[in-house]
Symmetry: C2
Subunit: 394 residues, 2 copies
């Protein structure tokens, strides 16, 4: 109650047109509760700035026909999602529809020079391919904590060489437009809220289970990043004091017990111990095992594969039960590579969350899989980029 | 970045005068970045509404001397903090200074009719004692989840008969002024931010350890209450699957292992088992044991008392380490009755939090005791009441 959420009118106009397409001036005024003179002045200013454009006549509402406006068809945003082992890029128009998309493996540990050079090469390729002439903003997510204000990674554990590297500044200079840097899980949460299962949900947790585990925290309509930019870093919560040693040096961290790497390790042990025919067969046919082998084995009914998934779900569920009691969100979205483990994983997470959290907090709490899957990150990066461009237009 | 925090000018003026005392018009304009005509119009309106008053001439700043304004000396707020076993009431002036204060034992389980009648009797007494003629707002905290929007308790576990009882409506009608209802831990967090150790801190957790355990979550400058009003209800987080059965029906909840009630139970067992001379002596001299007996025993160096406190601190610390990794706050404040266990408790909590949370999140994280102690709740209730009165004045 101490706060009024009062975004400036031009931001509200631009976001509405970005998210919904052409709208008449009359409807814009009604929906944003702006007086007609105020609305017309804002629209005129945004047309002059090249951010919105005329889009023909609206259907009649009885009186004089109103003209449609739309987000400028000339706007272009670059969205980059850096994972531990991949680069995803989309170039979008002003409505965030992809005009070009690239995805390739890349090891984040090769450092910022190599990775950002490759990002710029892929963006050059997009230009050559005709996706854009000039960019209006770049949004990028990285797999580690970020100082959102400074636009730099901060002490990122799996990104050697990236600590306080001026990612935002270099991208902005290279492309001559605003740039914005955020944590990869935060952009996935933003993406899921823009175009996925959390559409328009104000308070939810986006839990990414992939190489590591992280949580995007969306509260009161906005991402909460914490005072050091590491809010949601739940992978190193201790869940078993006698568990395995984690890469962070502590013992029994959540992601040491369940993550892409942990699951591959446990699958290998099970195959070698003769506990799982499905995994042994897959191991014989290749060099190693991955989470996908476990998912496939479970789909075939292999008991050990199902057990591995359920044990992992129980671990994640235990942590989420705590977070639900703490944060009382209205939805939990599960994404990341291990979301491919699907409904066996989901059922176990739900079972623990519903049993262990406060009944009042779970009475109406969906726990669901991401709808955007691999595209959540780039979608969120495009949203952030466009917001940045819109804000700088004021 | 999606949000501009833009409180209305009249709210900013009223809060500044409430919190800092008389200020000149010139300084008000500078500090709130309001143009002189805008400021003068707002001040004139607030004087006419009886919310602020002239307060003489300011010291010269070189040019024409500016006149001071202050929060109206006629304003009166009632602040009520209902605990599981107590009623605390203060009546304050517009600067939230107490003019009358009452504290007495009361069992919340006797139900809303009895408790609210007693609240009204104490407020009548304050009027008879000359603390006020009429109230401008009432703020009340209750020991359970609250729908802040509806002004009612919601499924409060230790408050039989209070579920959806129209607390706000009845208080507002009785006193002919706005009323506001919140959870007791939330008002303690608000109080600590207003006048305690968390002064002006935007992101912190206030952990109350008393009869039960709860957490006030203050993020981005405001209390976060969750979608059902039960955010921060951390007492029922499971910390030991093989632990004792909790009043909620689950096993191994944090507050079943460490809280006022749990500590009294463990102290009694230790005294009877002959493990603690200090506790045995105190038990012989009275009917039972309380947290205070354990605190006193620890102060005398009784090993069992110290062990009980340290074990409790370890439990609380483990949960807080998880919450720190999740929320990345800038401070943790420990309050409630068991804060009297003091530095033995605090040292153990700190040790676990600093060891188990992410280093980035604890690099600059104070874990401190409440400064307001028993007054945190009524202080926060007075802040809420005044905010409500100020908002309704718009």
């Amino acid at each position: 109650m101490h706060v009024l959420f009062a975004d400036a009118p031009h931001l509200r106009i631009l976001r509405l047109l970005r998210d919904e397409g052409p709208v008449s001036r009359a409807e814009l005024g009604d929906r944003l509760e702006l007086t007609r003179p105020r609305l017309l002045a804002e629209v005129e200013r945004l047309v002059a700035a090249g951010l919105i454009a005329e889009a023909g006549m609206a259907a009649s509402r009885g009186g004089r026909r109103s003209t449609l406006v739309e987000i400028s068809p000339r706007l272009r945003f670059a969205a980059v999602d850096l994972g531990a082992s991949s680069i995803d890029i989309e170039v979008t128009n002003g409505r965030l529809e992809p005009l070009a998309a690239y995805r390739e493996p890349a090891d984040i540990r090769t450092g910022p020079k190599v990775i950002l050079q490759r990002v710029n090469e892929l963006l050059s390729k997009a230009r050559t391919d005709g996706a854009y002439e000039r960019l209006d903003a770049v949004g990028i997510g990285v797999p580690g904590p970020v100082s959102f204000r400074d636009g730099v990674p901060v002490s990122p554990p799996i990104m050697p060489g990236w600590d306080r590297y001026p990612v935002r500044e270099l991208l902005a200079r290279e492309h001559g437009c605003p740039a914005v840097v955020d944590n990869d899980v935060n952009i996935m949460a933003i993406g899921e809220r823009h175009g996925g299962v959390a559409h328009s949900v104000d308070d939810f947790l986006f839990v990414k289970i992939g190489t590591g585990i992280g949580c995007g925290i969306h509260l009161a309509g906005t991402v909460y990043r914490g005072v050091d930019g590491c809010a949601g870093d739940i992978g190193h919560i201790q869940v078993d004091a006698s568990g395995p040693v984690c890469s962070c040096g502590n013992t029994g961290c959540l992601e040491a017990l369940f993550s892409g790497a942990a699951l591959a390790r446990d699958a290998l042990a099970a195959a070698r111990a003769g506990d799982s025919p499905a995994l042994a067969e897959r191991l014989a046919a290749s060099d190693g095992l991955s989470a996908k082998d476990v998912a496939d084995g479970a789909a075939e009914g292999d008991v050990t594969c199902i057990r591995l998934i359920r044990e992992g779900g129980r671990r994640v569920g235990g942590v989420l039960a705590t977070l639900v009691s703490f944060a009382n969100p209205s939805m939990i979205v599960i994404g990341g590579g291990l979301a491919q483990l699907g409904h066996v994983l989901l059922a176990e997470i739900r079972s623990v969350v519903y049993r262990r959290s406060l009944p009042l907090a779970t009475g109406n709490l969906p726990v669901v899989l991401s709808e955007l899957e691999g595209r959540a990150g780039v979608t969120g990066a495009a949203v952030l980029a466009s917001d940045m461009a819109f804000e700088q237009a004021s």
